[in-house]
């Protein structure tokens, strides 16, 4: 390994809370630690004088609290072990980037981007720990896929004179040329090519193309008959990216059985939107759907809201931090790339994890060399990634959820979404229309290109197994992105300096350039002009790399100088890498040699149609009947502390939801700080109009019936918006399907049914889909602790995100009970619908050790529910409601407790007053998850008006808010069945994730 000239170690002279917190955290996990000290180390490999190195070091410390050593090991007294963690070669090192810029500015020198600055962190440990334990502590803190670690005992540390000056410089010894790929090979070789990738000279493979036989045959035919030659590696890789499941959504586009000829996307999702827009006529609020990087709806006469929700599951399984930060920063870029460029105004998230208290390990390989990170590590990493990504970008995160199921252990699901705002007109033109013109320069801005993220698009189209490429992992750099985001959205856009813009996401340049070229008809790219992080990349790697924080723009020649000079002033690297044309060909050159020359139509439309067969045999999920419990006090407490009902305040407060000043209804509500399921923001401070955000998700219902699972998700997403004051006729939906094992006809049968419900219920509510995404292979193939083979598929998961409009934010509602004496009403009907409920899962675990599922899945009576929602809206407008919560997972009981904990007030309630004619059991009334229901509190002065308005709608006056500090419930037979203290409920609700 190469060594740096200077190693600067920065240490604290004063107390450093990082060490204390880490010590406590490790102590809680059973390590006998007494003290932890941390040094931040900067390895500087540059030709600086000793005095300049001292100047540089002085600029790296906070002089009141820190000091430094240069080329001298920090040696605190009597520590036991030292653990140093640094990055592997080529992994994004954001701090190093800042340090290099600062030193250049300080010393007015120019340092090499590739190999001048690296950072590491050293942990000095005190305590009664063995070397094995020290290593274990190390492995708790680092990820072998992206980092390197050094664990030294005190003695070794001194013998070696510290950690040393080695630096992870990237060394690639490859022939940077395009290779020809012979397609005239037997079919089994062709299949192998599709599955494992193009062979290298040494026999290894470059990683999956994820091309199926039918696609490969089409490609072979095209090259034989049209081009009359073999493809180059870059052509084949490029086609694979463009045709990938990730980019083309082949399963959603496939012919399914006899009845869905054009694919479920067209028939159920797109068609629903088309019909709704037609039926709404003049009230249609969609502006741009399914065509751009995000969907767009009307905000008011002058502004448009852009909205997008993405998933980043596979990368988050490998490197939770890198995966999730890349996900959130990536979806921000979809918004920046919406229309002629939109400003991100809010982030949202949704995480599906396995039980973080489950410590049983899983391995990708049979030898146990490649361990899957345990659920708790995945949770912590994913949560932290969205923290850094969102907070550093200055985008508030008002809305999100966590959901747990043991089947997310092989692959977590990481949903990340962003909303943006864009004026309807920019420079006198409609802002959602953009078009690259022939003759425009192809300009890449932002970060440089490295090997990171190669095969991301094709990788996410495959199940996670031992061949999964570590190169698929990237780490986001929100500050680099923030720089160009500001420069584009706040300056270049309004100066009219470019004609079109898109994000470099999956497939990198290969997808962004080819996509934009559709607007004009062709392109020519000079690949050797693309700025690289380090030398030695093959041309195909440059073309498909998914290195982050990049966008592609089309800049007309007469504006190029202004554009480039503006970017330079903003510290944004901008490079002309080619020209758009109308040749109907896509051409890529590398050092003057043509290495890619394809027909644009073949590239975009050549993908053969896929035909899929589905089946959906429904299984019964009967469970042994159990008697109704006599006393609900303990059940009541337990049900508030379930993984799926408990407070996740620890996420809400570490995500800045106040930046931009747009927060109205916040993620934590009431004095008691309870997580709400809907948030409201006010994007323009001089307008009273607001945006309402929520979601619906019921993976547990998929075990019973995916049609009603989807129906409930849609109803919940819609109802939640209404519960906070949003208008029913201004709600847009986004669909994110995270499915599993999608070559299996039964899984496809479940998919088809879910999609059918998506059509049926969106149409009935008049809530169009404006954007969506699917991720079809969320499966894990590997081994358990005893090295038995396991195949874990996530439960079919559909996230419906909803975005609504509220005309006047001062009418928005929060969930907290507010005053003793207020009247509590339940609106909507309660049926015996406990199938897939949190209560059955809990009772099953309690009685038998495993969850019960049941069969009585909640149904959605859309015509009735729509009437309820319309009435609710009128009640909101008349200021008749004091608090409102939509009844979701956990049913009436959990909703009641949440409003009480949030308001820090007691209540008394009577189950006999709940409209539930067919229900005979108290537990069913309390915990059924029937849809279409709200729990509200009402000022007694408004009782008459309120009841008058809801006349004819199933509704019950069930109790009152009081100051007793207790929650008391009377059962169906008139006896008291619950009497618990609100404080104890709050404890149960908040203690589940204590210490997270």
């Amino acid at each position: 390994m190469e060594k740096a000239r200077f190693r600067i170690e920065v240490f604290y002279k004063t107390e450093d809370s990082r060490g204390n917190v880490l010590k406590n955290r490790l102590k809680n996990r059973g390590f006998g630690l007494e003290k932890v000290l941390i040094t931040d180390n900067y390895l500087i490999n540059a030709d600086l004088s000793e005095s300049d190195a001292v100047k540089a070091a002085l600029s790296l410390i906070q002089p009141v609290t820190q000091d430094f050593l240069i080329n001298e090991a920090f040696s605190p007294d009597e520590f036991d072990y030292a653990v140093e963690i640094g990055f592997l070669p080529g992994v994004t090192d954001n701090a190093a980037h800042t340090v290099r810029e600062s030193i250049e500015d300080l010393l007015k020198v120019s340092l090499s981007i590739e190999d001048s600055v690296f950072t590491t962190v050293t942990y000095f440990l005190w305590g009664s720990i063995s070397e094995k334990e020290a290593r274990k502590i190390g492995s708790e803190m680092y990820n072998p896929l992206i980092q390197r670690i050094k664990v030294l005992s005190r003695q070794e540390y001194f013998n070696r004179g510290g950690m040393g000056n080695e630096i992870p410089v990237v060394k690639i010894f490859e022939n940077p040329e395009a290779d020809e790929v012979d397609l005239s090979v037997p079919d089994d070789q062709l299949i192998k090519l599709g599955r494992e990738g193009i062979p290298n000279p040494d026999g290894t493979r470059r990683g999956p193309l994820a091309l199926e036989m039918a696609s490969l045959e089409t490609i072979r035919k095209y090259f034989n008959e049209v081009e009359k030659r073999n493809p180059t590696d870059i052509e084949l890789e490029s086609i694979a990216q463009t045709w990938s499941e990730h980019c083309k959504h082949t399963i959603f586009a496939a012919r399914m059985d006899h009845d869905v000829t054009g694919g479920i996307y067209k028939k159920y999702i797109k068609e629903a939107t088309v019909r709704i827009r037609r039926e709404k006529g003049g009230k249609d609020f969609c502006v741009s759907v399914f065509s751009d990087n995000a969907g767009g709806i009307e905000f008011d006469e002058n502004y448009i809201i852009a909205d997008k929700v993405e998933t980043h599951n596979s990368p988050s399984a490998l490197d939770p931090f890198g995966g999730s930060i890349t996900g959130i920063v990536g979806v921000n870029r979809d918004i920046i790339g919406f229309g002629i460029a939109s400003r991100p105004i809010a982030n949202r998230y949704g995480f599906c994890f396995a039980d973080p208290f489950d410590n049983r390990l899983l391995y990708r390989d049979k030898k146990g060399e490649s361990m899957l990170l345990p659920p708790r590590r995945i949770l912590e990493g994913v949560v932290h990634g969205v923290n850094v990504g969102g907070n550093h970008s200055g985008i508030p995160t008002p809305q999100g959820f966590v959901y747990f199921d043991e089947r997310y252990k092989g692959k977590p699901l990481v949903f990340v979404g962003t909303l943006g705002l864009i004026p309807r007109e920019v420079c006198g033109k409609l802002s959602v229309v953009k078009k690259a013109r022939a003759g425009d320069n192809i300009v890449m801005i932002g970060g440089r290109v490295g090997r990171d993220g190669i095969h991301g698009a094709t990788f996410s189209s495959e199940a996670l197994n031992s061949g999964s490429p570590a190169a698929a992992v990237q780490i986001g750099d929100p500050i680099t992105q923030k720089k160009f985001s500001d420069a584009i959205v706040k300056e270049a856009r309004d100066m009219g300096l470019y004609n079109s813009i898109t994000d470099n996401g999956a497939g990198g340049l290969s997808c962004s350039v080819a996509e934009m070229a559709r607007e004009c008809g062709g392109f020519e790219v000079f690949l050797d002009r693309v700025p690289l992080k380090y030398p030695g990349l093959s041309p195909w790697q440059i073309w498909v790399s998914e290195s982050q924080e990049r966008m592609t723009l089309s800049v007309p020649p007469e504006k190029l100088d202004r554009f480039i000079s503006l970017m330079k002033k903003r510290g944004v690297e901008a490079t002309v890498i080619g020209v758009f044309n109308n040749s109907s060909r896509g051409i890529v050159k590398y050092h003057d040699k043509v290495i890619f020359d394809l027909d644009m139509t073949f590239l975009h439309e050549g993908l053969p149609e896929k035909k899929l067969k589905t089946s959906y045999p429904k299984k019964s999920n009967k469970y042994p009947p159990f008697d109704e419990p006599d006393n609900f006090n303990n059940i009541f407490l337990d049900m508030m502390g379930r993984l799926n009902t408990a407070s996740f305040e620890f996420i809400s407060y570490q995500y800045d939801h106040e930046v931009q000043g747009n927060s109205v209804i916040k993620p934590l509500q009431g004095k008691g700080r309870v997580n709400g399921n809907v948030s409201v923001i006010r994007p323009l401070l001089d307008s009273k109009r607001g945006v309402v955000l929520s979601h619906g998700l019921y993976p547990s219902y998929s075990d019973i019936d995916t049609y009603w699972m989807a129906a409930c998700s849609i109803d919940t997403a819609v109802r939640n918006i209404v519960s906070a004051g949003g208008a029913l006729d201004r709600i847009a939906l986004l669909d994110n399907f995270c499915w599993c094992d999608s070559n299996n006809p039964e899984r496809l049968g479940q998919l088809k049914e879910a999609a059918r419900a998506c059509y049926d219920f969106a149409v009935q509510y008049g809530t169009p889909y404006i954007s969506g995404k699917d991720s079809m292979f969320n499966d894990f193939k590997g081994y358990d602790e005893d090295f038995n083979e396991v195949f874990i598929s996530v439960p079919p998961t559909l996230l419906i995100s909803s975005t609504g409009i509220i005309e006047d934010i001062t009418l928005a509602l929060s969930i907290d009970f507010k005053f003793a004496g207020d009247l509590i009403y339940i609106i909507g009907e309660t049926l015996d619908e406990t199938g897939g409920s949190e209560y059955l899962a809990y009772m099953g675990e309690k009685i038998s050790g495993t969850k019960y599922i049941g069969d009585r899945i909640p149904r959605v009576n859309a015509p009735l529910f729509a009437e309820i929602y319309g009435t609710f809206e009128r009640a909101v407008k008349s200021n008749l409601i004091t608090s409102s919560i939509s009844i979701e997972r956990g049913g009436l009981a959990v909703a009641l407790c949440k409003s009480a904990i949030a308001g820090m007030l007691g209540f008394s309630a009577d189950l006999l007053s709940v409209p539930a004619e067919e229900v005979r059991r108290n537990d069913t009334v309390l915990y059924s998850e029937s849809q279409g229901r709200f729990l509200v509190s009402v000022n007694p002065d408004k009782k008459g008006k309120f009841e008058e308005l809801f006349k004819g709608i199933p509704m019950g006056f069930i109790g009152t808010v009081n100051e007793s500090g207790r929650g008391v419930i009377t059962g169906l037979d008139g006896g008291k069945i619950v009497d618990v203290s609100i404080n104890r409920l709050a404890e149960s609700y908040k203690n589940r994730f204590k210490g997270f």
Binding site: Q62, E658, N939
Partner: protein, 280 residues
């Protein structure tokens, strides 16, 4: 009266400039957002500016320590102009990351500055770093609403007439630290402008979450000796309207029942009004 010109720095990860500019405009000032690089290129912009603002954000991603890299950029390129600027009858406000920058530039608490005759940079007393904002005790980013008590004796012009504030914090490194002697001098020299308190107004005494970061003496904000330069961790620009408050839905109901008018504005706006009114 002419509207005072406010210059708000932007770029490199600063991210609260828009809402801060809005708060000043709303208070009757003229806001101008300027990229750090543009100011370095065109330093004379400081000549007409009356209020210089270092907004919140994540300059340089907090790498090497919050506010440090941006303070270095200014020290390396703008320090003389900045020192000349503060010698005039001007104001400087640093919020959150901006406060961290002010501390690392030595502009607050600037204990030595008022002891020297001219207070210019030549004697080396200004630009000396005397305190620090270190990692929160929880080593966790904290976005939450806090209660603040305004120090009666503070010379800060930003807090005139204010007694209490209910506004949010959002930071990972807001834990105010100063060596013992410095802390004494800060207290004795009336440099503290705001302290974290419990909702009922009693001192937080370091208790989380009232004191959200572990700051010594519950310090949330300090100023220099003239009172014209102030840094604060909490974000007043996020609390200028009633509906931005965390408890507004409760207060709205309360006011309705008490037949009181529902206010439009909230606490944070007073800071900006004070700054603007200084020039009237």
């Amino acid at each position: 009266m002419a509207k005072p010109e406010v210059l708000l720095l932007a770029g490199y990860g600063i991210n609260c400039e828009d809402e801060t500019a809005y708060a000043f405009e709303y208070s009757g000032a003229k806001s101008r957002i300027v990229h750090v690089n543009d100011l370095i290129e065109n330093r004379s912009m400081l000549n007409t500016c009356r209020i210089l603002v270092f907004p919140g954000g994540f300059s340089y991603g907090d790498d090497t320590g919050s506010g440090l890299a941006l303070a270095n950029r200014i020290k390396n390129n703008l320090m003389d102009e900045l020192l000349a600027y503060i010698e005039r009858d001007t104001l400087v406000l640093g919020i959150c990351n901006g406060f961290q920058v002010l501390v690392n530039l030595g502009l607050v608490p600037a204990l030595k500055r008022d002891q020297s005759t001219a207070g210019n940079s030549a004697d080396g007393t200004t630009g000396r770093v005397e305190a620090a904002l270190v990692h929160n005790n929880t080593f966790r980013y904290q976005c939450r609403w806090v209660d603040l008590m305004i120090e009666k004796n503070s010379p800060s012009v930003f807090i005139r007439g204010i007694r209490r504030l209910h506004i949010p914090v959002a930071h990972g490194e807001g834990n105010f630290y100063a060596p013992e002697d410095t802390l004494k001098a800060i207290e004795n020299g009336s440099r503290v402008t705001m302290r974290y308190v419990k909702p009922e107004g009693t001192p937080a005494q370091g208790l989380f979450p009232f004191n959200p970061n572990g700051s010594m003496n519950d310090i949330a904000s300090i100023c220099d000796g003239t009172g014209r330069i102030m840094g604060m961790m909490p974000h007043p620009e996020r609390a200028i309207f009633f509906t931005q408050r965390d408890d507004w839905t409760f207060l709205k109901e309360k006011y309705i029942r008490e037949n009181k008018e529902i206010p439009e504005e909230s606490d944070g706006i007073m800071i900006f009004r004070n700054a603007v009114n200084y020039f009237s």
